[in-house]
Symmetry: C2
Subunit: 347 residues, 2 copies
C-alpha cells in the first residue's frame, strides 16, 4: 500500500472511542454460529451450549512482553489471540470466542491500531473464533493488550493439569526452544540496527525460529489430532514458559514426579545451529526459554500405540511416584529440575 504512504495519519482523538471501536471491528463478521449478539451493545450474547464453557485471559504489555522496535503490530495482534487460544487448547477444548481490550497512548495512530486488529482478524479466521467484545481506552504510556478467550469441551474430554499418574508417558507436540532463539536473533539485530541504521541483516538462516517468536501458533491442530487418534490426555499444559516450569506445574498439580530425557527433546536444526552460534546450551534454552506454545501432556501407556510414529508428537519422558522431577542427560547424569521458566517480575 505504497500509495497510502503520504496520507495523513489519524490520531486516536480524531475519532473518539465509539467511532474507533466501530472502525476497528467493522471487518469482523460473526459466522461460527456460536454467537447471538456480537460487538455493539452493553455485552455480547453467546449461543447456549450443551458443553462446558472454558475461559482464560492473558495480558501483554509493551516493554515487558513485546518490544515495539521489532514487533509489527499485525504480528502482535495475531500473537495476543494465539497465546490465549493456546490456553484453551491446553484444556483439550475448542476455542469459540474472544474479547480484546486495548490501552494505547496518544503516540499510536488509528492506522497503527488498524494493523493490530488486522492481525487479530487473521487469527480469528485461522482459529475460527468470533470477536464478541472489548474495550479501547487511552493509556498514559505504552500499549497494553488484554485478551479473554472462551472455548467449549464435553466434560469427559476436558484435561486439567492434575490428572497425571505414575508411569504415564510425557508427550510434547512440535519442537522446543525455537521461540527463545528467535528472540535472541531479533534482539541482536535490533542492537546492530541501533548502532548502524544501514545494517542489512540476513535473517533467512533464522526464518523458522523468528517466525516461531513473531507469530506463534496455538496447537489447535493437536487437539483435533488427539481427538482423531481417540487419545484423551490425562493431564495437559501449554509450554508458555520454559519446559522445566511446565513439567513442574504438571508434577505439582498431579502429585507425581517426572523423568525427562535430553536425547528425546525435539529441537529444530535452526535451534541447534543458533545455539552454537550464540554459545548457549540448547537444552538450557528448551528448559527455561519459553513462548513455544506447544502442548505438553501425559497419556496412559496403552495409548502409546495410537501416537507412535506421529511426526507431531514426541514422548520425552514419563511420570514417576517420586515428588521431584529430573532430566537425564545424554551422558546419563540425572539433574533435578527447578523452575527456571521466565518470571516477568524478576526482569
Amino acid at each position: 500500500m505504497l500509495e497510502e504512504k503520504n496520507r495523513e495519519l489519524k490520531q486516536l482523538s480524531d475519532l473518539g472511542e465509539f467511532a474507533l471501536i466501530e472502525r476497528l471491528t467493522a471487518d469482523f463478521t460473526i459466522d461460527t454460529g456460536k454467537t447471538v449478539l456480537g460487538v455493539g451493545d452493553d455485552a455480547a450474547v453467546l449461543t447456549p451450549s450443551q458443553s462446558e464453557t472454558i475461559i482464560t485471559t492473558d495480558m501483554l504489555c509493551e516493554g515487558v512482553h513485546f518490544n515495539p522496535n521489532y514487533t509489527s503490530l499485525r504480528h502482535l495482534g495475531y500473537k495476543a489471540v494465539a497465546v490465549n487460544v493456546s490456553d484453551i487448547c491446553a484444556m483439550n477444548a475448542i476455542p469459540s470466542h474472544i474479547l480484546v481490550s486495548i490501552a494505547a497512548s496518544a503516540r499510536f495512530t488509528v492506522e497503527a491500531l488498524d494493523e493490530l486488529y488486522a492481525g487479530i482478524k487473521i487469527a480469528c479466521d485461522s482459529y475460527k473464533i468470533d470477536l464478541v467484545g472489548g474495550d479501547t481506552v487511552s493509556s498514559r504510556s505504552g500499549l497494553v493488550i488484554s485478551v479473554t478467550a472462551l472455548g467449549h469441551a464435553q466434560a469427559h474430554g476436558i484435561v486439567k493439569r492434575s490428572g497425571a499418574a505414575d508411569k504415564e508417558l510425557l508427550v510434547v507436540s512440535g519442537d522446543l526452544g525455537s521461540a527463545y532463539f528467535g528472540l535472541q536473533v531479533l534482539e541482536r539485530e535490533n542492537i546492530s540496527l541501533q548502532s548502524n541504521p544501514q545494517h542489512q541483516p540476513d535473517l533467512e538462516p533464522y526464518d523458522y525460529i523468528i517466525q516461531r517468536q513473531m507469530k506463534p501458533e496455538a496447537r489447535l491442530d493437536i487437539v483435533h489430532l488427539l481427538n482423531a487418534l481417540d487419545v484423551v490426555p490425562t493431564a495437559m499444559i501449554d509450554v508458555s514458559d520454559g519446559l522445566a516450569s511446565e513439567v513442574l506445574h504438571l508434577a505439582k498439580n498431579s502429585g507425581v514426579g517426572f523423568v525427562i530425557y535430553e536425547e528425546k527433546l525435539p529441537m529444530d536444526h535452526q535451534v541447534i545451529d543458533t545455539a552454537e552460534e550464540f554459545g548457549i546450551n540448547p537444552v538450557t534454552a528448551v528448559l527455561s526459554g519459553g513462548e513455544d506454545y506447544e502442548l505438553l501432556f501425559t497419556i496412559k501407556q496403552e495409548d502409546f500405540e495410537k501416537i507412535k510414529g506421529n511426526p507431531h508428537l514426541t514422548v520425552i519422558g514419563h511420570a514417576s511416584s517420586d515428588t521431584s522431577s529430573y532430566l537425564v542427560t545424554k551422558d546419563n547424569q540425572t539433574i533435578e529440575l527447578t523452575a527456571m521458566g521466565w518470571d516477568n517480575f524478576d526482569e
Copy 2:
C-alpha cells in the same frame, strides 16, 4: 492494622508471578455452584447452563480512569468489578463470573495488590459471583486493570439497546449526576491537599456523592426488581457516560428518537447543593457527567402501572418516531441532545 505499619512491605519481584497469583486469590472461594474449575489451571471451566451466556469486558487505566491520589485500591478493586457487572445488568442478565487481569509497575507492593484484591473480593461476595481467572503482569508504568464479566439470562429475558419503539416510556433507576459531583469535590480537595498538606477537608456534606464516585454499585437489585414486577424492558443500557450519550445510543440502536423532561430528572439534594456551590448547571452534569451506573430502559406503556410509585424508578420521557432526541427544559424550551458523554480520547 496499625501494628503492621512498620512491617517491611514486599516488592512484587519478591514473590514471582505464580506465588503472587496464589496469594492474591487465596481468599476467593468457589461457591455459586456455577464453576467446575476456578483459578490455577490453563483456563477455568464453567458449569454448563441452559441459558444464554452474556459477556463483557472493561479496562481501567491509572491517570485516565482513576487518580491514585484519591482512589483507594480497595475501592478501585470494587469499582472495577461493579462497572463490568453493570454491563451484565444492562442486558437484564444475572452476573456469574469474572476474570481480572492486572498490569502493575514495580512501584506497587504486594500489600497494595492485596488491598486491590480485597475490594474485588467484597464485590464478588456482594454480587454473588466467582473469580475464575486472570493474569498478573508487570508494566513499565502505572496500573491497568482489565475485568471480564460473564452472566446468564434466558433468551426471552435478554434486553438489547435496539428494542425501543415509538411512544414507549423511558425510565431510569436511582438518581443521576452524583458521581460527577463526587469527582468534582474529590478533585478540589486533592488540589487543596497538594498546596497545603495540613488541609483538613470536611467531606461529610458530600458523603453520598463521594460514595457514588468511589464505590459505584451495579444495579443488580433493579434487574431482580423488574423480574419481580414482571416487567421486561424493551431496550436497556447502563449510564456509564452521561445521560445524553446513553439516550442517543438507545435512539440510534432502536431507530427512534426520545424526548426527556428536565423536571423529571432524578437528582439527590447533594447534587443540587454541590452544583450551586461549584456554579455548574446540574442538568449539564446529568447529561454529560457519567459514571452513575444507573439503568436506563424503555417499557411498554401498559407496563407503567407495574412500576408507578416505585421509589427506585423514574419515568423521564418517552420514545418518539423522530430521528432526533430532545430535552424539554423547565421553562418549556426544547433543546436537541448531542453526545456530550465523556470520551476518553478527547481528554
